[in-house]
């Protein structure tokens, strides 16, 4: 009898978690301003689903996507539903079908690992529009989109290169994949465009999300003499390490000013809102077509967060100037001559690296201290 009661209690505990864990409509729509949006509302009711790989509370990658979602709600007054912390497995497929059952007709899947599941569900549901972040597959009803965050990383490198006194910078890196390598290289090129003697030391953590471990990696870099810390993970752990040591840092994903007010200078950040509005609006107007988007600062998907007072005062003008060149297309960043770590010229003078080369980056530029693998 008691055993049965115990089992029942355990079951109830599990059930209550499952129930609260299920996707719920986000209840953040601004109710007061709704009438204004009403007149724009289309015949077909649009419901937008967002599938997140992490919790919104990560303060980083997923947080940035969620800010984009909130912007979308505010601008277009559409209804959105979300599901956080979806594993990059079969589970994603279930979540997608669940969202379609709930009436979602536009769905954003915001992590690389959702790609194949998105594709599969997209094929089965031709009426629903899918937009997948950071992948490469495309169907008539499935777009892929991503941003050239390396442009902003190059700019943050300029700030860091001007600030450093030891000429040693630390980079807390996530995984040995082209996206991360590209970011480190862009950062290093930025640093060395203003400070040719500086070196960037790299530490791999093999995590996207472990605040304590990432802080520890930053501490190791600081002990090796780095006085500016940059990072690729989704937590502010490295920022905290710099703050405690009394040196400086470059964030990532979102403005991390509050996390380390004395260390934080700026951050390459994501600004998905305008893109989300543009795409959903196209769906509403019936003009939507699937596309493959890899845009940068020109379209505003990628930005550099405002420089704080900690950043060197002369950096502001320098950044503005280069930023204008990036937007106008004059500054391509990965343009020869680029040397690799051994000093051999990898990219000839005047040659611009192609997107294909950028997407399969597997070597470090001169000035990086660290190994891939």
């Amino acid at each position: 009898m008691k055993k049965a009661l115990g089992l029942l209690l355990v079951l109830m505990l599990v059930m209550s978690i499952l129930v609260t864990g299920c996707s719920q409509p986000a209840k953040e729509e601004p109710k007061k301003e709704e009438p204004k949006q009403e007149e724009k509302a289309p015949e077909q009711k649009i419901k937008v689903g967002f599938v997140y790989v992490g919790p919104i509370g990560d303060g980083g990658w997923t947080y940035a996507h969620n800010e984009g979602r909130k912007y979308l709600e505010e601008k277009l007054g559409v209804e959105t539903i979300i599901k956080e912390s979806v594993p990059e497995s079969q589970e994603a497929e279930k979540v997608l079908n669940d969202m379609i059952d709930q009436g979602a007709n536009v769905i954003f899947t915001t992590s690389f690992g959702f790609m194949d599941y998105t594709e599969k569900v997209a094929k089965a549901n031709p009426d629903v529009k899918f937009l997948h972040c950071s992948g490469y597959k495309q169907l008539d009803n499935m777009s892929n989109y991503f941003g050239r965050i390396y442009e902003a990383r190059y700019l943050s490198g300029i700030v860091a290169g001007m600030k450093t006194q030891s000429d040693v910078l630390g980079y807390v890196a996530a995984f040995e994949i082209p996206e991360v390598v590209r970011g480190i290289n862009a950062f290093t090129l930025g640093v060395r465009s203003v400070n040719p003697d500086a070196v960037v030391k790299v530490k791999w953590t093999h995590t996207w999300y472990d605040p304590a471990k990432e802080k520890e990696a930053a501490k190791a870099l600081l002990d090796e003499g780095a006085d500016v810390i940059a990072q690729h993970q989704d937590t502010p752990g490295p920022q905290q390490a710099a703050e405690e040591k009394g040196v400086w840092s470059i964030g990532y994903n979102t403005d991390m000013k509050e996390m380390a007010p004395k260390a934080y200078m700026t951050a390459p950040i994501w600004n998905w809102g305008p893109y989300y509005v543009q795409e959903v609006k196209a769906v509403m107007d019936g003009t939507w077509k699937s596309s493959s988007v890899w845009e940068g600062m020109k379209d505003g998907i990628v930005q550099l967060a405002p420089l704080t007072d900690v950043a060197p005062p002369e950096a502001k003008d320098a950044v503005e100037k280069v930023k204008a060149d990036i937007i106008s297309g004059k500054e391509k960043i990965f343009v020869g001559p680029i040397k690799d770590q051994t000093g051999a010229v990898k990219v000839q003078d005047g040659v611009v690296m192609t997107d294909q080369e950028l997407l399969s980056f597997d070597w470090f530029v001169e000035g990086v201290e660290g190994k891939i693998k």
Partner: protein
């Protein structure tokens, strides 16, 4: 600070959350209850402690709140497994899932908040005069924050309690053979409840060290799997608080040695280093079972609910 000292100091810091969680789990398992909810209790302590710290700015209150939250998690487990005699493994896993959800739910408004300065100052590294001058080890062990000293103290007190006091020996008896302990008129239910709750409180402390002192900002899932390493550490430490002290810092060191080695001439794959804690635990398990030493074996009554009628 040279390479060795700064590495050892960092290892002690990284090992501290593991130490508290391991001590908590040792005490729980010594009472014969295998609580796999360490991760959940750590997260509950982490979020409640952080929230109270943020509201009051008082480090002592924050720690007490974390202990309370951890023991409330343990209470759920205790009611299920001690009074209702439910399956301990299932209950513990459910507690981990519950604790993770609970901390995310409570922590929703805490995202992006940083530990108040008053608490940061309280947990500033303090040198212990004299001891800190011991070469290499002195700086690593005795130039740390108060929380870490609390860790040394807790481990030593628990060790003395377990092996040198009557109550501690009673506890060992409860874990080894509750029937015999019952016959010796030891109150089994009371002992089990008290120590499962105490274990939860210690896990809560381990969690709040991460959120309040180590990171120090609120982030969902701040423990990132450390609770599971603690479960492995209990086996490594052979249910002995003194060995846990060594083991926790060893595992803490293994957690971070990769970063220190990257960039030196010694090249070991980071993936291999990530495996180390588990490899070492398996190795210890193999050695222990080969030697068949009673001293290092798990409590005999571990995982078995106690029915007086079945005695």
């Amino acid at each position: 600070m040279d390479f060795m000292t700064s590495f050892l100091a960092a290892a002690v810091v990284a090992g501290t959350p593991l130490l508290f969680a391991t001590l908590g789990e040792i005490i729980t398992e010594r009472a014969g209850n295998l609580n796999l909810g360490v991760e959940g209790m750590m997260l509950m302590g982490a979020v409640i402690g952080f929230k109270i710290g943020l509201i009051t700015g008082n480090p002592i209150l924050a720690l007490l709140a974390a202990m309370f939250a951890g023991s409330m998690g343990a209470l759920i487990f205790a009611v299920l497994t001690i009074s209702l005699r439910a399956n301990q493994v299932v209950s513990g896993l459910a507690l981990t899932i519950f604790g993770t959800g609970f901390s995310a739910f409570i922590g929703k408004d805490l995202v992006g908040q940083v530990t108040p300065n008053a608490i940061k100052l309280f947990f500033k590294p303090l040198e212990i005069p004299g001891l800190a001058n011991i070469p290499i080890l002195g700086k690593a062990l005795f130039s740390q924050d108060l929380f870490i000293y609390l860790g040394y103290l807790t481990a030593i007190i628990l060790g003395i309690y377990l092996y040198k006091t009557r109550k501690g020996l009673n506890l060992i008896a409860v874990g080894e053979n509750p029937g015999a302990a019952d016959a010796a008129s030891i109150n089994i239910t009371l002992y089990k409840y008290a120590h499962v709750l105490l274990g939860g409180a210690l896990c809560g402390l381990g969690g709040v060290y991460l959120s309040l002192v180590y990171v120090p900002a609120w982030q969902e899932n701040v423990t990132a799997g450390r609770g599971w390493i603690a479960v492995a550490l209990v086996i490594f430490a052979a249910w002995n608080p003194f060995k846990a002290l060594v083991g926790a810092y060893l595992f803490g060191g293994m957690d971070i040695i990769g970063f220190r080695l990257q960039g030196t001439s010694i090249q070991i794959s980071q993936y291999f280093i990530d495996m180390l804690p588990y490899l070492v635990t398996i190795a210890v398990l193999v050695v222990v079972s080969m030697r068949k030493s009673k001293k290092n074996a798990p409590p005999k009554g571990l995982g078995v609910p106690y029915f007086r009628e079945e005695r």
